[in-house]
């Protein structure tokens, strides 16, 4: 048997793997639309987005040993370029890992919003409308599409889209960015490069009893108990 690496979406749930709750990505709590307006006049949210043509899902009984995506990708070239650029801004390259756009997570975003399932179609509405809004807002401010703006201009827009309490006019644009950002987090950190960035250790079959926390992890735990004024456990290996 060849052991290859694996990840688990159980990470996303953080709750116990015993939970049989849907492992779909939960929507982030909607921000309160009571914040200060951004330093520009906000353009209107697109009225409606054309529905996606019918596409096949993978069905209830796909071949689990040969996974594939049966639906076509639907982002236009320009939309994909914007998504890739946003990926490199939201999760930029640094010493630990490449940027999300450069790593190709834009293809995952496209796969996600092109999937014929209710959650993904809901996200599609948000994200296509958001990309349309972003270009419209950019044109009003800078006379060109978002990808044609300067780095500083793009940063100003992204700042306005990443606030705890948006103004009423920014509620939908901020909800769009919340969704896109969280999809980038999912898409990026489930790849080997993202896992390495988090310092993730796992996916390694280990024969024999589970080794448990390392001495370093035990020491951190002991110090944490002291900080929290909790008594030590009877023995480190005892629950």
């Amino acid at each position: 048997m060849t052991f290859t690496r694996r990840t688990t979406l159980q990470w996303l749930a953080t709750a116990t793997a015993l939970s049989l709750a849907n492992r779909g990505v939960a929507a982030a709590a909607a921000p309160q639309a009571t914040g200060a307006p951004p330093p520009f006049k906000v353009v209107g949210w697109p009225a409606s987005i054309a529905p996606m043509p019918a596409a096949p899902g993978y069905g209830r009984d796909p071949d689990l040993t040969a996974p594939k995506v049966p639906w076509p990708l639907t982002l236009t070239k320009a939309q994909r370029a914007t998504v890739d650029m946003l990926g490199d801004m939201i999760l930029p390259a640094d010493a630990a890992s490449p940027g999300a756009g450069t790593l190709g997570v834009g293809a995952f975003i496209d796969e996600w919003i092109s999937a014929p399932y209710p959650q993904q179609q809901d996200d599609r509405g948000k994200i296509i409308a958001g990309l349309t809004w972003l270009d419209a807002q950019s044109r009003v401010l800078h006379g060109g599409a978002f990808t044609a703006a300067t780095a500083a201009q793009r940063a100003t827009l992204l700042d306005a889209l990443t606030v705890e309490t948006p103004s009423a006019a920014m509620a939908q644009p901020v909800a769009f960015m919340d969704r896109l950002r969280n999809l980038f987090v999912l898409g990026f950190y489930s790849l080997p490069e993202g896992k390495a960035d988090m310092g993730y250790i796992g996916d390694q079959p280990t024969e024999g009893p589970y080794p448990g926390p390392t001495p370093e992890a035990q020491a951190h735990f002991a110090a944490l108990l002291t900080t929290l004024k909790l008594p030590p456990l009877p023995s480190p290996s005892q629950a």
Binding site: T8, T16, R60, G212, F221
Partner: protein, 566 residues
């Protein structure tokens, strides 16, 4: 009756279903020399050929995220079934919300299950005697204990000592050693115990030692890969890698898959002659005969089968009128918090044996007995929190290098407590035949009615206070929405612990079966699944299903060999 294709040759017992109960029945009966035929509604399934244990989620569409096609993720073991089955609907009464999970595969739900296997305690078998609600079982803990002992050794359970009221310990030799706890579990232990809330090693149906067998050898868990994908090394208990191959090896078991049983067919002297089933692939109807019929189709399907048999409008084995009633599911709710003290903690491998290593058993029996609680039955918490992609709610609204740093910081810093609680049967919760709807085979479908009572709602509210007290003791930031308990509870059926639709009892007037699952009205129809439960304790039901199926199967084998069913 015509012999079915692929089912020719005489059989002694027809077993409907191949999950925990059907697998146990086949194993015990064939070992006793009884010729068995399993009729499984789902398709054939071979974990060795089909399970993808090691592929990263990034190999799967949508990074493996659950969809209506694969509700628990792309690589999840459940195939060809789920919350909806093509052409096989169910309906609900107005105002009811009930989810019915139906795997359609050999091995049923055991291919994908929680693996948490606590024993029921003495109180759990006599709930009516304790608080005047629901019904007592006709048997007590002492009757079932020897079967728990044997089932734990048969399926392989790891766990530790509990030493708590109504949480029986296993005698020596039953359990394999439990795995060491992970750091978040140790931290929850320290905080909870300081608040008087006990934390113990969970009993889990995952091998921590090899289990040799000539036919179906199983290996100890190698501390990697998600159990719910299925386990090709056999570390997790599932009938497809254990009881079913063992039963087949006797030469006395035949299995027909894609066989949707539509009704029990009656013969002479008030006995069942066999069953009728529909071949799901051809739509053809077949009848097969046997000396006895074991129903192990799952709580809902077993009730449906009996309701669709016998007298029109009344069903079979329903002289009590209790068939389809007393349906329960476990309550469910999840709580989580970001723990600043865990942020950026030292990395190590936290995969372990898949699920939780420790859990919080119910600890308030004395308060409940004294009437200090506003709910009558208990709950437990299953414990979560690992390294990995942080929950969205645990990340700040930032972008750029701040976001990358926030992810590093928050990975492994979120902990979760998942509540599972007992529901008391109520008159508004049941299943019945929908007179207007049939499935694609022409079989009338079930209609569910479901309602939580104040007991369950207050229990979830209590659980939230308890979970949050643990989080606060750890200076945690609670990530749960501030909603009324009714809105944070799972829907009926969602925990997939449906039980009770043909409950056992001491009195034929108020129960459907006796303590051996034998229907009061038809002495060669024996029920072995969750339908027979007289109550649905918070403790996950599969171990008890297996123990009662073992007990009932040995009784049936004795009756067959003594000529009682000649």
């Amino acid at each position: 009756m015509a012999a079915a294709k692929g089912a020719d040759g005489p059989v002694d017992v027809i077993i409907v279903g191949s999950g925990a109960a059907g697998g146990m029945a086949a194993h015990v009966l064939t070992k006793a020399g009884v010729r068995c035929l399993i009729l499984e509604a789902g398709r054939d399934y071979d974990p060795q050929a089909e399970v993808n244990m090691f592929a990263p989620e990034s190999d799967a569409p949508l990074r493996g995220t659950g969809t209506p096609d694969k509700p628990f993720g792309y690589f999840d073991a459940t195939v060809d079934g789920g919350w909806q089955v093509e052409g096989e609907p169910y309906t609900m009464t107005e105002g009811s919300d009930f989810r019915w999970y139906r795997p359609r595969m050999l091995g049923g739900r055991t291919n994908h299950w929680g693996r948490h296997v606590p024993r029921f305690g003495a109180y759990d078998f006599k709930p009516f005697s304790r608080d005047g609600l629901g019904a007592d079982w006709p048997i007590g803990y002492d009757d079932v204990a020897p079967f728990y002992d044997r089932v734990e050794r048969m399926i392989g359970v790891n766990g530790g000592k509990l030493g708590l009221e109504n949480h029986p310990d296993s005698p020596p030799g039953c359990l394999m050693p439990p795995p060491k706890p992970r750091v978040p579990e140790m931290l929850i232990t320290a905080a909870a115990e300081s608040l008087g809330i006990p934390v113990r090693a969970a009993h889990t149906a995952v091998l921590t030692r090899d289990m040799p067998d000539k036919v179906a050898p199983r290996s100890a868990c190698f501390n990697a890969t998600p159990c719910t994908r299925g386990c090709t090394i056999g570390a997790m208990f599932q009938t497809t890698t254990s009881l079913l191959p063992m039963a087949k090896a006797t030469g006395r078991l035949r299995v027909v898959t894609d066989a949707m049983v539509s009704r029990v067919v009656m013969g002479a002297r008030g006995r069942a002659a066999g069953v009728e089933y529909v071949d799901r692939k051809t739509g053809q109807r077949h009848q097969v005969k046997a000396r006895a019929v074991v129903l192990a189709a799952g709580t809902g399907e077993t009730a449906r089968l009996l309701l669709n048999s016998g007298e029109a409008g009344r069903g079979l084995a329903n002289s009590s009128g209790e068939l389809g009633r007393n349906l329960t599911d476990s309550t469910g709710a999840s709580f989580r918090a970001f723990i600043p003290g865990l942020a950026g903690r030292p990395r190590y491998n936290e995969d372990g044996i898949g699920g939780q290593h420790i859990y919080i058993p119910f600890w308030q029996y004395e308060q409940q007995k004294r009437g200090e609680l506003d709910f009558a039955r208990g709950y437990h918490f299953e414990i979560g929190g690992r390294f990995g992609v942080p929950a969205e709610a645990a990340l700040p609204r930032v972008w750029g290098k701040d976001l990358k740093q926030a992810v590093r910081n928050a990975s492994g810093a979120t902990i979760g407590l998942t509540l599972r609680g007992e529901m008391i049967p109520n008159k508004d919760t049941f299943c019945e035949i929908d007179p207007n709807v049939k499935d694609k085979f022409g079989i009338p479908v079930l209609r569910f009615a479901f309602r939580w009572s104040k007991h369950e709602i207050n229990q979830v509210a209590h659980g939230r206070r308890a979970a949050h007290s643990v989080f606060k003791r750890l200076n945690g930031t609670i990530l749960d929405p501030d909603l009324p308990p009714e809105q944070i509870m799972t829907a009926g059926g969602e925990i997939i612990h449906e039980l009770g639709t043909a409950r056992m009892g001491a009195d034929p007037k108020s129960s459907v079966v006796d303590s051996y699952g034998q229907t009061w009205d038809v002495d060669n129809v024996v029920l072995m699944d969750g339908a027979t439960f007289a109550s649905g304790p918070h403790k996950n039901p599969t171990l008890t299903i297996l123990a009662l199926a073992l007990r009932a199967s040995e009784r049936l084998a004795t009756r067959l060999s003594s000529g009682a069913l000649a």
